[in-house]
């Protein structure tokens, strides 16, 4: 198992390097200057040139990239051009917030999505099914910024149940998590439903019924675990989706997370900061993949078996 984890991590290193290279190229081949950007209206051309030279931004692309890569491999992501702060520290500050947001959104999506998916599958074709699926599709089809606005308006301004924005305690997490989780919940509900329906067609379900098992137990004992395996598998993709959603959610709800940092970084062409935040986000996605794989194996003994290294 440990070997498996190490192996997975080793495999992801090239992915991470590829991503940094991709970003580096994309942000450097196009004209645009972080220093000019940082200094805006007031600075004279000389000041800009001076500062750029001081920050070694005049060096050739490759030199800069390898300098970055070399430092990054040693755990040093550099200093943000715009914020003048250590990138690692910045991200470590912002990261827990994003993680909290994404995790609670994920929980929301699972807590809502899975039961809804199960109920829909069990009551396939019923009014309940149609209602739930409509609701899920609505979640999937509603832009996040739009549902965020509606929720703020209803729950914060009109009903005054929840604070509008900020990130200072449990009650502040609820709304962003709901907004972000709802869209994922739709995906999960739909997947759970179709996966469960698929499993319910399999032979061993018929076997379970042939034993005289109650339908509810057939689902609970025999269908569910198998049906949830693909649902677990999309967890990794969900991490990426949630992180994307976090960019918008964080902006609207004033959450000081990695999404904000990355947007700042993109806008400011702040290479070290952008590299850092994307690296973290990507790592998160890769971790999601890993966790999904591990869960997968926990759920599915066939894979568990393989991971132990070949069957006997």
């Amino acid at each position: 198992m440990l070997i498996f984890v190490i192996k997975r991590i080793a495999i992801s290193i090239p992915v991470l390097i590829a991503i940094t290279a991709l970003l580096f190229i994309m942000l450097n081949v196009i004209p645009g200057d972080p220093i000019a950007l940082m200094m805006k209206e007031h600075a004279s051309a000389e000041v800009i040139d001076r500062v750029r030279a001081q920050m070694h931004l005049d060096d050739p692309l490759l030199t800069r990239y390898f300098r970055f890569l070399f430092a990054a491999l040693q755990g040093d992501l550099g200093v943000s051009i715009k914020l003048n702060r250590d990138v690692t520290t910045l991200i470590l500050h912002a990261f827990p917030n994003t993680l909290l947001l994404a995790a609670s959104a994920a929980i929301v999506s699972w807590v809502i999505g899975i039961p809804v998916g199960i109920l829909s599958a069990v009551r396939r074709g019923s009014k309940l099914d149609h209602f739930f699926m409509g609701f899920s599709l609505l979640g999937v089809s509603m832009p996040i910024f739009w549902s965020a606005l509606l929720m703020q308006y209803i729950f914060a301004l009109k009903l005054k149940w929840l604070p509008v924005s900020g990130f200072y305690g449990f009650e502040y997490v609820i709304m962003p998590a709901m907004v972000l989780g709802w869209s994922s919940a739709g995906v999960i509900a739909r997947l759970t439903r179709s996966s469960l329906l698929e499993v319910m067609r399999l032979d061993y379900i018929r076997t379970a019924r042939a034993k005289g098992l109650r339908e509810i137990l057939v689902i609970q004992r025999h269908a569910l675990k198998n049906a949830l395996i693909p649902v677990v598998a999309i967890m990794a993709i969900q991490v990426a989706t949630l992180l994307s959603g976090a960019v918008i959610t964080e902006a609207i709800f004033g959450i000081p997370g990695v999404g904000r940092i990355s947007v700042n970084a993109i806008q400011a062409r702040d290479m070290p900061l952008l590299q850092g935040s994307v690296l973290f986000a990507t790592t998160l996605v890769i971790m999601g993949n890993l966790i999904a794989d591990i869960l997968y194996s926990v759920l599915d003994p066939r894979i568990r078996y393989q991971m132990k290294g070949g069957s006997k």
Binding site: T207, A210, G212, N226, P301
Partner: protein, 332 residues
């Protein structure tokens, strides 16, 4: 028939499926009996309705597409057609149980063998976990699983096909049902394993007294182990007889064709071309008029193309659905 020796008596079983192209009668008026402790064969080609017959008896036909009706299905004195879904469920696994064709896909890959094999006990009895475990262990021994204790907590994929099928049989028999329906239990297995399993089933029948409905397309298996045989063609029983009668005096042209076309491992190769039944198995949605076998039948008469024959008794319980045996001789 209220004969005490009769365990299962099926009368006029009909199963229909609602498909995109309208409804299809997949099982059409099937009637047969199973005596206590007897092995009754249900033989027929692919798609002839064998599995659906079995599932109909079990009450496992997928609803709402499938609709089952019957004049009566008497099992051990109870008419299953009169039971509601819940009562039927309580019979399943206890009074009658079923073993399926594919031992791999019919077992849940994520539950251990003891969990699955012991499950009927936990449903139908009040036994505790320990007791169930012991029973399963005992059952594993009975069906000849080597090292039974080591096989309790493994997952299905860790067993070979033969062991899985034994476990399936153990599962079917664990509540000591009166009737076991075995739907092609050995088709997926190798001949040597098949021979083991078939012998095991006969031994269990002798020991436990469970009657078996043996579904297969292999006339060899029928000949080896069945007492009575029902030959199905296109959703109907076309011939019904004692096993010796059937092989000695096949009376339906289809049965005859079938017997003629099976290659025999025991006979030297003949110079002639092998016998076969011309044509193809009919599509149930587009059955021919008259006798369902008439397009492939060498003996077809005019009446065969217009009117369906009934199952006629040829004496000694031997019945065939053919105008050749009709009293009027197939005159129109």
């Amino acid at each position: 028939m209220t004969d005490q020796s009769i365990l299962l008596s099926v009368r006029n079983l009909r199963t229909e499926f609602q498909t995109q192209r309208g409804s299809v009668k997949v099982v059409d008026g099937v009637s047969f009996d199973v005596g206590r402790g007897k092995i009754v064969g249900l033989v027929g080609e692919s798609g002839s309705g064998k599995s659906v017959t079995a599932l109909s008896l079990m009450g496992l036909v997928a609803s709402p597409q499938g609709k089952v009706s019957a004049d009566s299905i008497m099992l051990n004195g109870t008419d299953l057609t009169r039971l509601n879904a819940e009562e039927l469920r309580r019979n399943r696994g206890r009074q009658l149980s079923m073993v399926f064709q594919e031992p791999m896909t019919s077992l849940n890959p994520v539950r251990t063998m003891v969990q699955q094999v012991g499950e009927p006990l936990s449903i139908h009895t009040n036994l505790g976990r320990r007791a169930i475990r012991d029973k399963v262990l005992h059952m594993f021994e009975t069906v000849g699983i080597p090292e039974p204790a080591a096989r309790l907590d493994v997952y299905p994929h860790q067993l070979s096909g033969g062991l899985r099928q034994r476990a399936m049989i153990a599962m079917g028999l664990i509540c000591e049902p009166k009737l076991l329906i075995a739907d092609e239990p050995t088709t997926a297995l190798d001949v040597t394993t098949q021979a083991q399993i078939l012998r095991l089933m006969m031994a269990l029948r002798d020991r436990v007294g469970t009657a078996i409905v043996m579904i297969t397309h292999d006339l060899g298996i029928i000949a080896e182990m069945c007492d009575e045989v029902n030959v199905m063609y296109a959703g109907q029983i076309v011939e019904q007889a004692n096993v010796f009668d059937l092989f000695d005096r096949p009376s339906h042209p289809y049965t005859r064709g079938l017997l003629a076309s099976i290659p025999k491992a025991t006979e030297k190769r003949s110079a002639e071309r092998m016998n076969s039944i011309p044509g193809v198995v009919p599509n149930l949605a587009k059955l021919p008029t008259g006798c369902r076998f008439n397009p492939r039948c060498g003996d077809a008469m005019p009446i065969c193309r217009v009117q369906q024959p009934e199952l006629t008794d040829l004496g000694n319980g031997h019945k065939a659905r053919c105008w050749l045996h009709d009293k009027q001789g197939g005159k129109l």
